[in-house]
Amino acid sequence: MVPLYWYLWLGGVVFAIGVFGFLARRNIIIMFLSIELMLNGVNISLVALSHYMQDLRGQILVFFIIAVAAAEAAIGLAIIIAMFRNRDTLHADEMAEMKG
């Protein structure tokens, strides 16, 4: 039997890698992918917890997270397209008209 802690730690590591990607990458799409990584980290932890508690609610939450991720992807990518049309760039550090 794999200890629960391993799963949690795995989830945490994936989450943190996502955080790093979000902080460090310049490309907006990869930043967005990093958020998906973070969500997957959460999902791994949730399914594991759900399994070890013999409770299905965690898995339900995962289900909703996936649904929301789909919605988020649709809107996020649409926003990115709109942004690309206006700015012709996909680099987050090249859009800083508003600052200060």
């Binding site: 990458r25 930043m31 987050a92 550090d93 859009m95 800083a96 008209e97 600052k99």
Partner: protein, 646 residues
Amino acid sequence: MQYYLLIPLLPLGAFLLNIMLGRRVIRRQAHWPSTLAVAGSLVVTVMVLLDVMSGRTLNEDLYVWIVSGNFKVSVGFMIDQLTAVMLVVVTSVSFLVHVYSIGYMQDDPGYYRFYAYLSLFTFSMLMLVTANNFLQLYFGWEAVGLCSYLLIGFWYEKRSASDAGKKAFIVNRFGDFGFGLGVIMVFLTFGTLDYVSVFDGAGGVAAQTINILGADVNLITLIALLLFCGAVGKSAQVPLHVWLPDAMEGPTPVSALIHAATMVTAGVFMVARLNPIFSLSPVAMDVVAVVGAVTALFAATIALVQNDIKRVIAYSTISQLGYMFIACGVGAFGAGIFHLYTHAFFKALLFLCAGSVMHAMGGEVDMQKMGGLKRYMPLTYWTMLIASLSISGIPPLAGFFSKDEILWVAFNGGGVGRAVWALGTLAAVLTAFYSFRLIYLTFHGEFRGTEEQRHHLHESPAVMTVPLAVLCVGAVAAGWIGIPPIISSVFGVEDANWFAEFLKPVVGHPEIEAPHSTEALVMGFSVAVAAVGIAVAWVFYIRNREIPAVLARRCGILYRLLFNKYYVDEIYNATVVRPAMLIARYVLVGLSDGVIIEGVVNGVPALINRFGARLRRLQSGLLQSYAAVMALGLFLLMAVVVMVLK
């Protein structure tokens, strides 16, 4: 009887209407809303007066604004006999001033603004007198001060006017500072600002003392004196009287309003309203009486030699206010209010007459350049004569009854009473003298002005003279509701001092055990000295006009001292204003290039600015750095948690 609310609300509404629509819509019709509103207030006031006379007084919190523990800010009204009298005085004088101003201000470009301020002024004063708690009193107090600043400096293009406005405001600040401290002390002592609860609790703390800089001070005395500071400022008592004569720079109707009804009387009203506090402190009472008496004499002496017609009246106001404080100081608050009430009529009348004279003279205020106006403006002359007789205390005019009552209670006051009485009586001689000096210089003899002015001389229009006539009736008859028994008994009426009876539930009435003969003697004496004063004035200014000049030359020092108002302004300039300016100029400006200003005044904002500029750089517009700040914040919080809990 919620309709009493209309009394302050009508002028407030008129103010809002005029200030919002005045410039574009109402314009030359601005007098309508204001005058109608104050007329409405007057009508409601009469209704309230009738209610109060039938014994229905009221004290209610209308609504509570904020509450926090003991601290409550509420708007509440207290309508009792004292308030009713004040309401009558304020609304009636204010109404007449409104009407009079239609003529006086007719060509002024700021017509709507003038009426808006006038309404606000009236509203503030009405709020002040109807308050049922200290905070509302304070609010009215400050609002009155603000309005007076606006109206005195009404012709702000004129430098002297805006200076006078500022002076009034700043001098009042000194008094108001004490008043504010007094209110805070009241709250700290009683834990509430409600009149009734404070008055109920006042007896319980009468013996308490607090230690200030090593000296034990009676708490009530301290509170009373602090509050009195406010009255000294607002009612222009020595040493804070300097603003009132300068306040003449405002339009004359404003002077009438300030002097008769809405501003200077606030101090007297406040002392009378807070009589349960003052009565508990003999020290404070003596201070009030002495300040009043000194002021009465002091101002009267200055008035003797002034040539500016409005200034003479201004100093007479200060002097008369002194009388009112004498009354309060000897415990006869009712007599003080009585004098306030009669004074309102003859003083408003004097001012409006002076305004009428100035109107005819094309704005001239120097009495040396007048003379012989009797012929040109008979109505103004006669009404002003009656007002002067009234202020001099000649029976049976209004001023006689109120002044006589004050002197009589002072005479029997014990303690400082006799001395105060002596000062008051001396001041009465001078009052009669300067009042008639004014009459003789202005209306008698021959005209000393320019030919052009003579050509222009005319009686004022009806809209100005009618208020004069109405006030004249008041100046004659207002005193007849407070006739002392000694006189009324002659006519077979045993108790005719209805006014004192009316106010008794609020302010009490000192019982005087003294033989009628003494009273008759005192009364006769004061009438006699007034007559002497008039006679001397006649000799000086009609019979033998050389005397004043000779006298001035002989007693040069005294004359110059009086003419320059005891150099009080100069002294203040030298001791307060100049040093303050010097400090401002040399110390502050000098240091502004140096360390202190750089460090403190500019330093803190500069520090904030520099810090802000740093922070701004952090807000770089870069998405990733925003996320990094968030992540770092999160990490630090997590780290703290793990550290602390492990």
